[in-house]
Structures are given as C-alpha cells and as structure tokens.
C-alpha cells in the first residue's frame, strides 16, 4: 500500500514520514512525500519526493494519479497568514483541500485520508473543559477554513467517495528549530532556547494553562488514525487528538528539574499583554474520551514531553 504525505517538509510532516517509514502504519510499502519544495527521502521504505503546489491547476489530479491508498493532508497556510491574506487562506486551506478530495474521489478506490485540522474551529466563550461536541464557532478565517474542510471530508466519506478522518491537533510543544512569530511560539522557546544555552522570554504568568502534545505523540496520533480499522474510526469523522493540560509554571519547573536552575534563569519574564490575551483566550483543556477509547496515544506528563525533546535535540 502506498502512503502519500502532503506537507511532508514541515516539522510534523517530516516526523510523520519517518514514523511511517519505520512501520507506524502496517501494510505501507512505499511513500510519496510532497511539499512545495521537495522533501528529503526517509530511510526504511522506497520514497518518491515531489515538489508540488496543491493549489496549482492540475496538481491534485497529478498527485491522485499516483494512486495512493492513504493520504495524510497536512498542507496549510498558517493561522496568521490566513487572517492577513484572506484570499490566499481560502485558496490554500479550502480550495486546494477540496481539489484533493475531488481528485481522490475520481480514483474510485476510496482511499483513506487523514486531515490535520485545528482546535481553531472552536471560538470563545469557552467552558473550562471543552466538550467533544462543542459548537463550531471559529474566531478566525483559519478556523473557518478548517471547519469547512472537516464538514466536506465527512460528507465525502458519508457518500463513500473516501474514507476520511479529521484530527484536531493540540498546540505542539516542544518544537525543534528556530523561533517563530506565532503567538504560541514561546511555549516551545522557553524550553528550547535555555536548553541550547540561550535566553528566552516568557510573556505570560506561571498560572497560564495550555493544551499541548509533543511532536512525536502528535504524529503518532496521525499514524494511529490511519492504522485503525476503518470500522472503528468511521463513526467519528472528526476527532480531537489527546493532549495534556499544563501550566507554564509546570513547564518551567520541568526545565529546572531536567536542565538545572541555570537553564531556568535564562528565561526572562517580561509580560506581553498582546500575547497573553491571545493565549489566555485559548481553551485550557478538552474532553478527548473518544480518542482515548480508540487508543490514541497521549503524553503522560510534561516532564515526558521535555525528555522527548532533550533526547532528540539537546
């Protein structure tokens, strides 16, 4: 069976490629890795590595012509860009996804599709713990586009054109690599930078509570959805992936425990009200009973998340 990963050059896409090549989804015998810039091949399985812009005319059909049995669709314009560039956001996040589903439908092979959605489909006001069937009321164009694609994929699946699943990912921390401009960027930076002996700023108070998962466990969740028997996951066309609810103070305590007080001392505490307002508008926790019942993976605690990062990068 052939698996295709669209968005394979991103941090999650690259990790997913590696996990699949190492057997995370039984039965996969070769990989097609796709991104705007051709991704690097991964060891373990034959890889075709393609540069393609899913939004370009004909691109979806060209990818579908490779007859994948399983497609991970991770390609997206991120939240900030989708908000700043309205038309680009809809073109990439909605239209290109729809073009992909249409091209896969035309195969008439009912391929499995795993779509990386977002908790941004929800909007305030939030209860302390957001239930699984909380109303869709996105507060951003990005969240609107993700919600529309979830609905579309569920309908394509209901009609028997595809076998699709949308997974809403927690905030991923600790992300490797360079700092980014996302409001959530500090949730990786306050750990990654001190572990590299560099200063970082934490713009929110210790009590700020966030919903996170590690990169490896997030990617393992995507692979798990594809490996599950279709009969088990079909009744749940949209799932919130499992995460853990931790405070920023607990994250910094784990840093001190695993890397010492000098590492923690590299974290300055200059409040940034703009970032604090954004982050504090996010839900602190989600019910994920369905994902738990389906045996999706979860990090046991934040020290384990930090250890995953240290083992691989520090």
């Amino acid at each position: 069976m052939r698996a295709m990963i669209i968005g394979a050059a991103g941090m999650l896409g690259a990790k997913l490629s590696t996990q699949i090549a190492q057997g995370a989804v039984p039965g996969i015998t070769d990989l097609v890795l796709v991104d705007r810039i051709a991704p690097a091949p991964v060891p373990g399985l034959p890889c075709q590595c393609l540069a393609a812009d899913l939004g370009a005319a004909g691109a979806a059909a060209e990818l579908a012509a490779l007859a994948p049995d399983l497609v991970f669709h991770l390609a997206a314009v991120v939240s900030g860009q989708a908000e700043a560039e309205f038309d680009t956001g809809y073109a990439v996040n909605l239209d290109a996804s729809r073009a992909l589903f249409e091209a896969l439908r035309a195969l008439e092979t009912r391929p499995r599709v795993v779509f990386a959605s977002s908790l941004a489909v929800y909007g305030p006001p939030f209860p302390d713990v957001v239930p699984e069937d909380f109303v869709l009321r996105p507060a951003s164009s990005y969240g609107t586009q993700k919600a529309m694609v979830e609905l579309l994929l569920a309908d394509y699946s209901r009609k028997g054109f595809l076998r699709g699943t949308s997974l809403r990912l927690p905030t991923v921390s600790v992300r490797p690599g360079a700092p980014n401009a996302a409001a959530s960027g500090f949730l990786s930076g306050i750990l990654r930078e001190p572990l590299a002996g560099q200063a970082a700023n934490c713009p929110v108070p210790d009590v700020t509570r966030v919903w996170i998962a590690s990169p490896d466990v997030t990617v393992a969740g995507l692979a798990h959805a594809a490996a599950l028997d279709w009969d088990r996951i079909a009744p749940h066309p949209v799932l919130n992936l499992r995460g853990i609810s931790v405070t920023v103070g607990e994250m910094l305590d784990a840093l001190e425990q695993q890397a010492g007080p000098d590492a923690r001392a590299l974290v300055s505490r200059n409040p940034d009200p703009a970032i604090a307002r954004i982050v504090q508008s996010w839900p602190e926790a989600f019910v994920t009973d369905t994902a738990a019942a389906l045996d999706f993976p979860v990090n046991p605690d934040f020290p384990a998340i930090l250890r995953e990062y240290i083992d691989q990068y520090a």
Copy 2:
C-alpha cells in the same frame, strides 16, 4: 435602500417579496427580484425582475453591480436533489453562495445579507429538545453545504466584508400549491388537500411530533432579521428561527375544528415506514431563546397556522 431577493419565484421568496413591498423592512425603496425564471413584480415598490442563474459565470457580479443594500439569499437545490446529484448540490448551494458573497464583498459597501439556512445542518442522535449550540454534524450533503455557507458568511461578516445572518428555518406548513415529493410534504398535504375537498394520506401516527412554522411567520422572520439593528444581530451570525412543536394528531384536530369532521375524514391513514423513519429522525423541538430575545415572530399555536392558510387559500 435597495433590497434584492434571490430565489424570489419560490413560495417563500414570493411571500417575502410581497412583505418587503408592503414595508416589512423600513427604508427599502426598491426591489430586485431574481430567480432562474424572472419572478412576477409585486405591488407597492418599484421592482426589477430578473432571470439569472446565480451559479453561471459572471452572474454574481452582474447582480452585485445593481448595488443592493440588502440581499436575501434563498436560492438552493433542495435536499433530495443535493443528495442525488452531489456535484450540482455543491455547485449551487456552496459555490454559487460563495460567488455571491465575493461579488458583494467587492462592492465595499458591507451590504446586509440574510441567508436561508436549514436545520439539516444538525444530524442524529438528537436530544428531545435541541439546544442552540448543538454540534454541527449534518447527515446529508444539503446540510453539509448549508453549514459550510453559514461558516463562510460568518467569516465574511467578522472580517467586515458583509453584514450577514444565517437563519435556520423550521419545516414550513401549511404550504400552498401542488403536493411535492419531499418527505415532509404530507405535513402540508393532510391539511391543504382536505380543505380543497380532496383526499390525502397521513403516513405517520398521530403521536409524531414535528417542528413547524407557517409561511407568513417564516418570511416575517427573514424580514425581521434584515430590519433589526445590526448591533443587535451581529453577535449572532447564525440563528434558529422560532417554530412550534406539534403532533400530527394536534394538526388533524385543528383541521376538524376549523373545517369539520368531513374534512378530517378525507385523511386516510396508510402507514409509510420509509417516510415515518425519515420524519421520526428529525428533532421534535429546538431551543430558540436567542431568536425570542431578538423579538423574532412565532406562531402562537397550530390552529393559528391553519387559520393563516384558510384565510388566504381556502
């Protein structure tokens, strides 16, 4: 101010045209009535009556060029056709709506838009009374398309491109005109046909409970949304219109009270399990506190709904 009604030749569109021409939305000074076949003009205001297919290339831009200040968007492929003709449903119910919103956005005048959505955005399993923020889990392509357009219109409004409101309509009864093939058709037929001295069949038991509103009150709800101060309705981009929850037995009791036992005797009771299964899968009642707080109209009871029909048609 110019109001445009797209879908003005339909039963609700024609009634809405008449209500607007009679002053239901203060400040409207002329009407543009649009449908695939040019609607008839209505007395009371200057009318342009246009034949246009909103899904045709350039049609949305041509309509927007008429610079409406208020647009009622009622045009749609109905549920059965959207399910049987997947591509047509998406083209008309999703793509044409999006083309309309884009063309209106380009005006840069932030026109008011009232979109006729559907309770089909919800899917089973249902609680006895469906809350206002019940999860979007449509069980049909029609419901999926309506949910996607609701999300799109809310995002266009949030971005300041339009001032849009989506209204989810109850089942409309008593509909005038010929019987139709909809599963809900008997909810009008068991009243309309006997009132005309004709036989009708009721395919479900007396205890079957349904959520309905009369044509006039449904249309008054659309007009009310347009007449409300934008500041009041803007926080509610999607609303369930008010309805009443009645049993089929109560509907037939009202028929007997207002038209006599001979009228009721024209209603045969041959069960149709297929129709019963569909109708019994629909929710029996909805919470509509928001619409009530915003002073949307509601029928007091089923006898009043039946009297509305008799006064106009029987």
